[in-house]
Symmetry: C2
Subunit: 347 residues, 2 copies
């Protein structure tokens, strides 16, 4: 393929000017006369000149783009987060490069390496469920790459973080179930490694304890692959259904687990909420029109993304090394719908 792109050198030759004059004219330098500027600008315009971004990046020492690692783009939570990131990044003249870890540590490392070092000016990352070793990120940070965590954070790395109040979100959700009269509330979550899971689990447990209810480990199921595989959720659900006392409500802690559980309950012909109520963390825009409409803990995804990006750019643009880091905690919101409707009476 031949890219017959016009360069600053071509303009210079054609206009009988020096390369530096052209460069300065294009950047509207005070050193250049209006006449020359006009000449150069018009020629550039006419010939559709566009500066080579690689040359600029190389020269300037930054790429004006930031890397994003999420587990999966087709998760509405993450796509909303990305919308927020894109919005903030664009408004500050930055580009985003999105990669997916698909909940795999290997892929996460590979993506980070791919993005890494000067191809990006900073990294926004939500850890994969598999990740408990963050050496790869530590090394990058120590080499000066600004990193901001969002959603699934690591407490082994000191940097800005944007999370939601997972404990409170799960607490309120569980309380809602308890107040609705449910007695045997199960919890399906992801791998216990992630910050998000353990916080939500704590919220769930605290609500039970505060209500004088017993925490029974048999009602708590972990899906180590973050619910990427339907099979692991199916197994978890099956085990719950096989208990001598079946749960009458389920709190699902992850977007994908929530929707998959809903699907499986349909598949098993279990009436929601009559037989089992369902309450899940999810950001799907379709919660209202699901069958039944789904009581959900929703996260301010756009704002998470926006805020994380704002913080990352503040590190990137900081004159001196940033050593004071901040963790922003945003609130979740509980939307009560039919999937947890209290059973007034059996119709």
């Amino acid at each position: 393929m031949n890219f017959d792109a016009i360069t600053i050198r071509d303009i210079a030759r054609e206009l009988h000017l020096s390369v530096s004059t052209v460069s300065k004219a294009l950047r509207d330098s005070y050193e250049i006369s209006d006449k020359t500027k006009k000449l150069v600008l018009e020629y550039a315009q006419k010939n559709n000149y566009r500066p080579n971004p690689m040359a600029q990046s190389l020269k300037k020492g930054h790429s004006k783009s930031i890397g994003i690692v999420v587990s999966s783009i087709d998760n509405q939570f993450f796509s909303q987060v990305i919308n927020g990131m894109e919005s903030e990044a664009y408004s500050q003249g930055y580009n985003v490069i999105i990669t997916q870890s698909h909940e795999s540590w290997d892929l996460e490392v590979q993506n980070v390496n791919h993005l890494t070092h000067r191809a990006i000016d900073g990294l926004l990352i939500s850890l994969s469920t598999e990740t408990n070793d963050v050496e790869h990120l530590k090394k990058l940070q120590s080499q000066g790459l600004p990193i901001v965590f969002f959603d699934r954070v690591s407490n082994e790395i000191d940097t800005h973080k944007v999370i939601v109040d997972n404990l409170k979100g799960a607490y309120e959700a569980t309380m809602h179930l308890i107040n609705s009269g449910y007695k045997h509330i199960a919890h399906i979550t992801s791998s216990a490694i992630t910050s998000v899971s353990s916080e939500r689990l704590s919220g769930y447990k605290k609500a039970l304890e505060d209500s004088g209810m017993e925490v029974d480990d048999r009602y708590i199921k972990f899906c180590t692959h973050g619910g990427q595989a339907m099979s692991e959720i199916q197994q978890a659900l099956q085990e719950l259904l096989d208990l001598e006392v079946k749960p009458d409500a389920i709190l699902t802690a992850w977007d994908r687990i929530t929707t998959s559980t809903l699907s499986l309950l349909h598949k098993f012909n279990i009436k929601i909420p009559q037989e089992i109520a369902l309450l899940g963390f999810t950001n799907t825009l379709l919660a209202d029109v699901l069958n039944p409409s789904l009581t959900a803990v929703q996260q301010p995804a756009f704002e998470i993304g926006r805020k994380a990006t704002e913080m990352l750019l503040s590190i990137i643009n900081s004159k001196r090394p940033v050593t004071e880091f901040e963790t922003v905690v945003l609130p979740t919101e509980l939307f009560i719908r039919n999937s947890t409707a209290r059973q007034i009476a059996v119709k």
Copy 2:
């Protein structure tokens, strides 16, 4: 921010070698002795050397990344398409840069300009609903940027394209409604400009005609903003409901229009399919668990993305200019669920 990244020059100085020797050693050139290679490799490893991708890109004349423009990432169709693109691109050592046009021509142009010219080696684009002027893309193509269209294509530009058989998809969908006994089938689609809309509209009309039914323009509604705004869909729907003979079925032609229409029908308390049946183009993974489960025309989104990327990379890697272009047409699939269930009898 200071990036104390190590360069090839640092290695050379430290090892008392020349820059070129180090470069060649790293690239495993036959000109370098095994001893030296080992030395360099070990030093590089230990000091976590990583080639500066910008310098490499500048030198090599390509960036090993491709640009993607879609209308919106939080549309499951597009996120699945992107998964396919990412998969193919990664397997060939390419990176993807994703941007969203949000159905706006202005943003589309801005994104393309941002990505454009040497920051990317090629472009994968699905036009925004607003777009009917493709001069910006023509210009880029004429300058040598490889472009592949998918989903929403322009026939003013000659290049590879990947689409689905929209006419057949809409035809089969409409036929399903007709065969289920629906008599007044409405069609809500996007702007008539897009290839996709007009093809689906044709399929809808053809099915009616082939069945001896009249095509009544009052039953066809256009949402010029591609359904980004709920309000325009609401208005379209309201107009349909205000007709003296209300439609008993609606075929929605776009993902977002489909889910929004479902929401609105709920809001208006209209029973699906008893009062109005709904059949829509959508790739949501939740079609099965919607209320009611949704009869849907689904597109092979992953494959669309994969194929488009494969074709783009074939242009990029082609030794000589490509002049023969191909349009790949993939089949859609109709999933029949409850939202169009034939009304055997009124319960």
